[in-house]
Subunit: 341 residues, 2 copies
DNA sequence: TTGTATGCGTTATCAC
DNA sequence: GTGATAACGCATACAA
């Protein structure tokens, strides 16, 4: 099946018996071109069904007007919200967004990053995967001065703008809330510590305990346990221990859900006997019974901010001598899973 | 901020005192090149930090290895599942996926389609927006023999492969299930009838009733009521009527959720006194109490299928003389909201 | 097996 | 204002 060959600026030029450069200029609204010829050229282009070959233009100008985005999983509310935010700004600024998901797989993340680089994206917005420790595939971008913005899960060793939520304060708020509700022995189900967000959520947890004069007990802390399956295993292990907790702050809503489902099966009353707070405000957390108290992250706004920053850098409007970390506010949403009143 | 200029195949050629074409061939694993020189070239390329300029290659070969995807809203479970499916296949076949959302805005959809065309995507997968009636922006692709695959919301007047679910059968299954469970007066909360999917779900509902010898009562049917708010209004109105239903088939899970929350507040027991079935299998439907019986749409599989078809067409492996409409099966998932046993 | 020459469609740099 | 021409980096037909 042959593709019909496209009309080019040369075809238009030939038809109008003018030069291709004039056509090019006219189509790009170059002010050098007279009103009259520009109108004629645009009209003819339309008639001939001309579609610019952006690939050729990109090749020539070394600019693609494309932003690369890498997220661990597109099919998750927080990430798709961020993408929506990125897309909204990018679109209005004339950029195309190319989205890929790493599935939290390091090899895939590397592959995608290299592919985006080879495709000469003008900039990259990403949240790194759980397995990512070596970041040389990203240094590629910073070395070549291709703007890079991290959100949520950031790489500590790369100097770039970062959009995060205040995970420490988030963890602190969640834990303090549990303390105020009178829970005495508060556990934490967390993520992998190579990711700053999980380290910070843990730190917020620890700070809240310390401030309340409660000794932190390492037996109450589980790392790298954020899936449904791992969450279930973790809460089971915690509850089967000789001195089980009476509350848990989970670093995401998924593990909080696992906790709730497991405890309900074992007949423990939530929130009376056991308190649960999650993180992220996934849509399901509102409608589960009991509904899950959680920390809300402004995903859409984070995406917009990331996009604005990146495009600012691409267009050179931003003094990017100094990279900054933008800390977006979190909000504690108290629901049934931790509300004893 | 200057970007460092990239090393090209010419740089490698110069360094090794060979020709650029040899380098090009070696890097593309052309069997004409001897094992020895190929290894040398690849090694040198790596050392020199060579990154192929894919733009240039695409420009030359007229192939971008990129698939364009347009969805109404990325931030919705069904669509993001489809995208995941598309992405999985595309990635394994060496394609990049460029995703855009139309926000159900016709102008934006046109703009995106034109932009993807100008960017010379090798193919396009899309679900059209609610406002889309004129499809000339899509005919562009079919006219130029650029493969096009529709899913979910399809354009009737364009000859292309289409992936849809069997909404009629889905509505039929949901309603039949309620009948079998012994519910006697089954209502329907539906969507806007200008969308085929909602028309079909309603038709499936009507067929099931008819087949069971039940007269369809127009008072039991509400249209265009798929949000949380509208759903609540609708169930309230239905229950306040002189002859209220004892079950409802909702055209989405969101309205089913509204029904459940409203009825629980009014003290009606689900499923004993009232049965509810939704549609789409949104993540929350599994974890709500009572969990919502629903019709599962194989979003991920639909995406995979769309991707396979499209890539098959792109690679010319498929006889695409005949466009087909693939009707994917739906699955009734019986959960607590309708299970009296 | 390798080298030479050409062209993809556009934009940019000169001229006029 | 407009035209001629070169250049972007790569792949490929043709030569050797």
């Amino acid at each position: 099946m042959e593709r019909k060959s496209e009309t080019t600026i040369h075809d238009i030029a030939r038809k109008l018996k003018i030069s291709a450069s004039t056509v090019s200029r006219a189509l790009n609204d170059n002010p050098m071109i007279s009103e009259k010829t520009r109108k004629l050229i645009k009209k003819t282009a339309l008639e001939m069904g001309y579609r610019p070959n952006i690939i050729a233009a990109n090749f020539r100008t070394k600019r693609t007007n494309t932003i690369g985005v890498i997220v661990p999983l597109i099919n998750r509310h927080f990430f798709s919200s961020v993408i929506s935010g990125i897309e909204e700004i990018a679109y209005s600024e004339g950029f195309t967004v190319s989205i890929s998901q790493s599935n939290d797989n390091y090899q895939k993340e590397v592959h995608i990053a290299q592919s985006l680089f080879s495709n000469r994206v003008d900039g990259l917005i990403l949240s790194i995967g759980m397995e990512t420790i070596d970041t040389s595939h990203l240094k590629l971008f910073s070395e070549k001065n291709i703007p890079l913005v991290f959100f949520d899960r950031t790489a500590v060793d790369i100097d770039a703008n970062k959009i995060v939520v205040d995970d420490i304060k988030g963890g602190y708020k969640a834990t303090s809330h549990l303390i105020k509700q009178g829970y005495k022995r508060i556990a934490h189900i967390g993520g992998p510590l190579n990711l700053t967000i999980y380290k910070n959520r843990l730190e917020g947890y620890a700070r809240a305990l310390k401030e309340a004069g409660i000794n932190s007990d390492p037996n109450l802390i589980v790392h790298n346990s954020l899936t449904r399956e791992e969450g279930t295993k973790s809460i089971k292990k915690l509850m089967d221990s000789s001195f089980p907790p009476d509350a848990v702050f989970c670093a995401n809503d998924t593990s909080a859900l696992s906790v709730i489902i497991y405890l309900q099966k074992t007949g423990i009353n939530i929130p009376n006997d056991f308190g649960v707070v999650g993180f992220s405000n996934e849509p399901f957390s509102e409608v589960v019974t009991p509904s899950i108290s959680t920390i809300k992250q402004p995903g859409f706004e984070m995406g917009k901010k990331a996009s604005e920053l990146l495009i600012g850098q691409i267009n050179g409007n931003l003094k990017n001598s100094e990279s900054q970390t933008f800390i977006m506010p979190t909000e504690l949403i108290v629901r049934d899973s931790s509300n004893r009143n």
